[in-house]
Symmetry: C3
Subunit: 266 residues, 3 copies
């Protein structure tokens, strides 16, 4: 089985810190294969890191180790942890970064066994001194040996959409490189509400923008320059404009409210 | 033989989409080695993607699979294709992205066999659901099994330089990170015209800039702050300024005309 | 033993040049594992490239080959070199890029044997035509075969801090993505001076900023919005502001003087 380690950090791609973590891991476990998820998480933005990491879902092979370091509390008492889900391991700081995992947590331990870490542990770079060696050693060491104590995971949460009769009040939670705006409204919620209001059509209203009628099946069913909604590849309601940046063109951003209304047929 | 997949996309390096494609491929074919060509193609800029992909020429090992996704028409009827050239396979949307390949196309098929793709195919992320699994399965499945129908490839073209007597009218086609400006004028064309006007020297004239006399052999044969021309590593006439950004310093950009004149010796 | 090649360049991540170098290396030595250190060195900034490369220290496995190309003099007489230290090989232009290596140089040779390089050597892309093939062939060819002549390495240097009685005058040498500012003042120098002035506390004074009292043990021991100093993971005195960008917030940058004073207890 291939030994896969993914990396998600706010270290950027200009400094050598990501490479140093990889060097540490290759020195311990020479056969690791790395896949970079993102190193462009905005500095110290734990929520954005958590959402990015959450985007990988179950698309990696079982047994992959996901190393994530967005760590504003480095050097404080926030705990270094190893987490096991059904498919994966996760390694990093217990600060909310692991709030949106692929599946429920089966076990989480605090990393405490310094014999498994770098010989010297700095106060500013636990990615190198704690998390990288722990990730690399997970391929040969049971997670229980990293520390006896179970960890209680810190959790960030996205606001849940609020449903009231025929209306869903949700919000934009993520904007990607293309300016597509993901909401917290799932395809499942839409289907459920539609089943309650079967003879209705759907209207979507983001702030400061006119009402959008109906969900598109393709980006290209909407005219150029118009805002549309679609159920995206993560099964979330998404705002977009074809071949354009919906965030920029319509001044929309994470945190903005999106209202969906099932309008009865007359 | 090593199983090499290169990736060229407009997905950027902040979102997890590139990693998700790699996860899908590793889940199918664990021994793939990835090489990123670029993920910074400007969103939906198919021509720039095609030129970037064209830059790899024959420098990769035979049998490499080049996955490219710049796909403004995702979800429409534009075809997903697999292309074979003498050395390589290419996988992606048939929208012009494969206009400048390493060598002539030997065969191109439309991807139609959904048994070889992701179990569920979204309308917004064919990189993940169609192209990544097709690329990974090419190491174990003949391309004919992906679909019976041959594809007619969409082609973008760069303007050809126009030659009239002792004058070549070409244009700037690409600007790289250093601000070096590649033209569509090849070393071959220069040599041919020079053989017709053997007793001549060469003048190059970009818009709004004084005439450049002669082709340099090294970037450093030109004085600091001056614009020079050189035959670059792709055998194209290139405008540059030593240790500076020629595009910014001289206000030059892709699309600008460049005139080369062979001036008879008096 | 795994064949590891790291890459440090100023080529950026938008053009295909880095991938082309990897393709050349894989064509020669199919089993190479690549680790990117940085491709975002500012164009032609040899000092920044040297500092970035210096940041990897001894964190990679023994036998790793470090390929570095920041090469404003490409095509001139600056020499292509292979360097051996106790743990590593380095390959690139002899222009100061190899000034801060992991350990003293044991041997350095000028690359001269064109039989070991690309069949055609361009004047603008020695990364592809000289350095990449040399790096790849180092796994099978003794470095002496690349050229008989030993090279005298060009060296850049950072200003050494000046110590006068109880005062160290150092300077900022590097700013990272977080806006943390590294100085040239080492933990060792601090310890030595402290041993000479044992009953003293320490004051740090960057330009235009009020005096900082004492070294922090954690980023979080300093109040939000304040500037602090810490001994960082490279054992250097570093200026920071917790969860913020110290460079931007306090207008500090590489080249700025930092004065450390050991103030006698009254």
């Amino acid at each position: 089985m291939r030994k896969i380690v993914t990396l998600t950090t706010d270290f950027g791609l200009s400094d050598p810190w990501v490479a140093v973590m990889k060097g540490v891991m290759l020195s311990i476990e020479p056969e690791i294969t790395f896949v970079d998820i993102s190193h462009n998480i905005p500095p110290q933005d734990v929520l954005k890191g958590a959402l990015c990491l959450g985007g990988i879902k179950n698309f990696f092979p079982e047994g992959s180790v996901h190393l994530a370091v967005v760590d504003p509390g480095v050097g404080t008492t926030r705990e270094p942890v190893i987490i096991k889900t059904r498919r994966y391991f996760y390694v990093g700081p217990n600060n909310g970064l692991f709030s949106f995992l692929d599946s429920p947590v089966e076990k989480a331990v605090k990393i405490a066994n310094i014999g498994l870490l770098q010989p010297q542990i700095s106060v500013t770079f636990h990615g190198r001194d704690i998390f990288a060696p722990a990730a690399a050693r997970l391929f040969s060491t049971p997670m229980e040996e990293f520390g006896p104590a179970e960890a209680t995971l810190e959790k960030l949460s996205l606001p849940e959409p609020v449903i009231k009769e025929n209306i869903i009040k949700g919000e934009i939670t993520y904007i990607d490189r293309f300016g597509n705006l993901f909401t917290n409204i799932t395809a499942e919620t839409l289907r459920e509400l539609h089943s309650r209001f079967p003879n209705s059509h759907l209207e979507v209203k983001p702030p400061g923008v006119k009402i959008i009628n109906g969900v598109s099946y393709y980006y290209h069913s909407v005219a150029s320059g118009e805002l549309g909604v679609i159920v995206n590849s993560l099964n979330l309601l998404e705002l977009f404009t074809p071949n354009g940046n919906a965030g920029e063109c319509f001044g929309l951003k994470p945190g903005d409210t999106v209202t969906v209304r099932f309008v009865p047929a007359k």
